[in-house]
Every structure is written in structure tokens, then in C-alpha cells.
């Protein structure tokens, strides 16, 4: 009987419940609650569920006391899976799937959309300044600023290179705000545009030939990679995926890139990024700052896209609806849908979606270029 009771006592003392009783344990408890809130947001509110769900579950696993199952616990399952993030493997693979799903036709038909995609990246650099002012180091500020690119894989790739210890809060902020694009953007869009501007009906885009669609990914890869070699992994994979889709001769692998590969990598990326958010790294004032700076980055990106949209509207004598500028913040295709919705609210016959897709996909290229620039400048400062 004594042996039985001693065994039970031993199990109770070494269990997670016993660890939760300490002050340190309360931190774990707080993290478990946060993980459950994120699971609720993913499942019930459907905030980017494909990524937020594995991220939240990874966070839950990483904060089970005693289990020692987080991305930094050497020897654990998640430690090995995390190497794909640490070595910068998963985000480019996701970009390949994104490329295989993206139609760059609207951008090829109206290349001026690139300007709006570039303008929306100003938010990244404004937030970089804000983060430096709040006491973050240069590389940390660069990783926080990239949230403004509204591009999850780019944010994770850049953070993995510049400030891996901030991966958890930055990933949560980036994906939460991407899900909140329909909430964050419309008030800024209405504030910065007049009713007359929002009602502008744009001319139909010209058709794009298959040859143009095939040449586009090759040209973009060569040009961008030669100028900003640090963005080659992202841009190269994005354009490879797109080339596989457009050329029409490798349908099988294009389908694999869009479905099976993308799904597998999404699971691995989500769970391991979530598992970096342990109580020690997540429950800090830094996380709070990152959440605030993230929304500022998004808002600045949207605003600068809109301002350039207004400039283009003025320069073309009213042929461009400035609302499409807000779609420059990547978040494909959500930001374009928001531009469509806001435009159609003012003029029910207006159909801005195709016009907004141009700046939207240009924003993906723009944020990858911005990421490459930040990695190039700030890597020497990484400690």
C-alpha cells in the first residue's frame, strides 16, 4: 500500500498541476488562457483559422509545464520542426504555393499598380522608426516594421533572420491584424477619400495574353533578385509557383504546390511559430508594444497607399479610384475585397475587385523587396 501511495504522490508532485501552483506556474496558466482565446478566435470568429489555429495550439503545447515541448527545447519534436523556420525554409515554400494560386493578370494589365504596392510599404519604415523610439534594437525594429507589409510568410521570414526571439508575438500580431483588415481599413479609407472619389468607376482592364503571364515571373525574378539578392528566396519561390501555374505544362506539381505542400508547410510553420511563444518571451511589455506597433504599421500602410491612390487619381484626371491604393498592403485577397466592398457601398454598380488586385499582388512583391532591404541593412547588427 505504501508503494502505491508513494507512487501516486510522486506522480502528483511531478505533474503539470503541481507546477501550476507556483508563481512561475501562474505565467503558464496565463499563456494557456491566451492560447485558448486565440483558438476561440480561430474557430468561432474564423480569424485566419488556417494559421491562427496551429499557432494557438503550438502556444498551448509550449506552455504545458514540465512537458518541455517548445521550439527552443532541444530534443523535443517541435525543436526539430522549428528548424524549418529558423533556417528560413517554410516561408519561401508557402510563397511558392501563394504564387501558384495568384493571378498577376490585373498587375500586368495595369503596371502602374506597382506604385500603389510600393506606397503601402511606407508603413513598414514608419513603424521601424516607432519601434526604435520605443527602445527596440535595429533588427528587432525591422522585424516589427515588416508587420505593416501584411504578409505572414514575409513577416516570419524576416523575423527569423533578424529577431527570432520575437517570432511568437510578431506572428500573432501579423496574422491577427490580417484577419482584422475588414475592420481596420474601412474607417481609414473613408477618412482619407471623398464620396466623389469613392464613386469613381474605372475602365475595364485589357486582356492579358498567356505569353505575358509566362514571361512576367521570369522577368520579375531576374530584376528583383539582381537588385535585392536578400529577397531572392521569397520572390524566387513566389514566381516559381506562378510560372508553374501559368505555363500549363506542369499542372501536377502546380497542384501539389497549391494544395498538399502548402497545407503541410502551413501546419508545420503555424505550430512551431506558436511554440516559440513561451511565458518568458510572450508575457512582456515588448509583446504589448508589438501589438500596438502592428496596428500602427497596418494603418500607415493603408493610409500611404490611399494617399498615392489620390495622387494617381489627380494625375489621371479622375480615372483611378483611390480606394484601390489601400489594397497595396498585400493581405491577398482580403485587402482587395475590402476595396471592392467599400467602393460598392458608395456605388452599387462599381466593380473594383480586379483593379484592386493589381496593387494587392504588387504589395506582395513590394513587401518581399522591403524585407530583403531590411535584412540586408540590419543583419550586421544582429547579436
Amino acid at each position: 500500500m505504501d508503494i502505491f501511495l508513494n507512487t501516486l504522490q510522486g506522480i502528483a508532485q511531478s505533474s503539470g498541476f503541481a507546477a501550476l501552483g507556483s508563481v512561475e506556474g501562474l505565467k503558464y496558466l496565463a499563456m494557456i488562457i491566451i492560447a485558448c482565446v486565440l483558438l476561440y478566435l480561430a474557430i468561432v470568429k474564423q480569424f485566419e483559422p488556417l494559421l491562427l489555429l496551429p499557432i494557438a495550439f503550438g502556444m498551448l503545447l509550449a506552455n504545458i509545464p514540465v512537458a518541455n515541448l517548445n521550439s527552443h527545447a532541444e530534443g523535443s519534436l517541435l525543436y526539430y520542426l522549428y528548424q524549418g523556420v529558423k533556417l528560413g525554409i517554410y516561408p519561401p515554400l508557402i510563397f511558392m504555393g501563394v504564387g501558384a494560386m495568384t493571378d498577376f493578370g490585373p498587375l500586368i494589365a495595369n503596371p502602374k499598380s506597382f506604385i500603389l504596392g510600393a506606397a503601402a510599404q511606407i508603413g513598414i519604415f514608419m513603424t521601424f522608426f516607432g519601434a526604435l523610439a520605443l527602445g527596440f534594437t535595429g533588427p528587432e525594429a525591422g522585424a516589427i516594421g515588416i508587420i505593416g507589409g501584411a504578409d505572414g510568410p514575409t513577416a516570419i521570414y524576416t523575423t527569423g533572420k533578424l529577431a527570432p526571439h520575437l517570432l511568437g508575438p510578431i506572428a500573432v500580431a501579423a496574422y491577427s491584424y490580417m484577419a482584422l483588415v475588414p475592420v481596420i481599413q474601412p474607417p481609414i479609407m473613408k477618412l482619407l477619400t471623398t464620396k466623389k472619389e469613392r464613386c469613381i468607376v474605372m475602365e475595364q482592364l485589357r486582356p492579358v495574353s498567356k505569353r505575358e503571364k509566362i514571361i512576367f515571373p521570369v522577368v520579375v525574378t531576374i530584376i528583383v533578385s539582381l537588385i535585392v539578392p536578400d529577397s531572392t528566396a521569397l520572390i524566387g519561390m513566389l514566381m516559381l509557383g506562378n510560372l508553374m501555374k501559368e505555363c500549363g505544362v506542369v499542372e501536377r506539381i502546380a497542384k501539389t504546390a497549391t494544395n498538399e505542400l502548402m497545407n503541410i508547410v502551413t501546419i508545420l510553420l503555424g505550430i512551431t511559430v506558436g511554440a516559440t511563444a513561451t511565458a518568458d518571451t510572450f508575457l512582456t511589455a515588448q509583446t504589448l508594444f508589438i501589438i500596438v506597433l502592428g496596428v500602427i504599421a497596418f494603418s500607415f500602410g493603408t493610409a500611404s497607399g490611399l494617399v498615392f491612390g489620390k495622387i494617381m487619381c489627380w494625375a489621371t484626371k479622375g480615372k483611378v479610384n483611390p480606394l484601390i491604393g489601400s489594397a497595396g498592403v498585400s493581405a491577398v485577397p482580403m485587402a482587395a475585397r475590402v476595396a471592392q466592398r467599400v467602393g460598392q457601398k458608395e456605388n452599387p454598380t462599381n466593380f473594383l475587385l480586379m483593379h484592386a488586385m493589381g496593387p494587392n499582388v504588387a504589395g506582395v512583391i513590394g513587401s518581399a523587396v522591403a524585407a530583403g532591404v531590411l535584412i540586408n541593412i540590419l543583419t550586421p547588427y544582429v547579436k
Binding site: P111, F114, G138, E212, F216, A362, V369, A370, V373
Partner: protein, 123 residues
Amino acid sequence: MDVSFALAVIFTGIVIVFLVLVLLIAIMMIMGKLLYKPQQPAAPQKPDTPASPHRAAAGMKAAPMPIVESGIEEETIAVISAAIAALTGGAGRIASIRKAAGRSHGKRRAWASAGLRENTQPF
């Protein structure tokens, strides 16, 4: 905070992003000029001999007017006729035009849904 460092990063970053994307605009425009050839509407062929009023009348007889349900506008009939002619290369004949079965409240028309689907399918 080193303000000069921050400003240098911001300035360099914004300039490079714009430079790359403006360069892509120029290349895409050149590519569009070289590869895109807008389709010219086919010029109406002059008949070798002018059609006589008699032949024209005979032609009209060969294409009987479709039975059209009352309440359908002439514009709608013209659009449907043009679509059928384009699709069949002029060989198709319309026997009758009638309104589709009533749609339930709040739903789009079939044509509107088809157009919307075609435009948004890639996204």
C-alpha cells in the same frame, strides 16, 4: 535611438522599394507594347454585288422572328441575339425568348452571377 541611423534605413528602404517597382513598371509597359496586340474589330466585307431588295427580303424570310414573351425589352432581345450569333458563328437560330423562372428574393440574376463568377474565379 540613433536618429541618423533610423533615417538612413528609412530613406534607403523607401528609395530601393520604389526604384525596383518603378523599374518593373517600365519593363511591364515595354513588354505590354511588344506582346499585346489589341484585337481589331473585323472590317465589314463589301459584297461583290449589292444585295438587291428582293434578296434581302428573301433573307429575312429565311430567318423567322423568334416568339418573344411579352414584357421583354427590345434591348434584351438584341443582346441575346448577339450573344447567340457570337457563340454559334451566326449559324444559330432563336426559336423563342421567355423569362427564366422567378428568382427568390435577395439572389442575383443568373447572368450577374455568371459574370461575377467568371471575374472573381481566380481569386
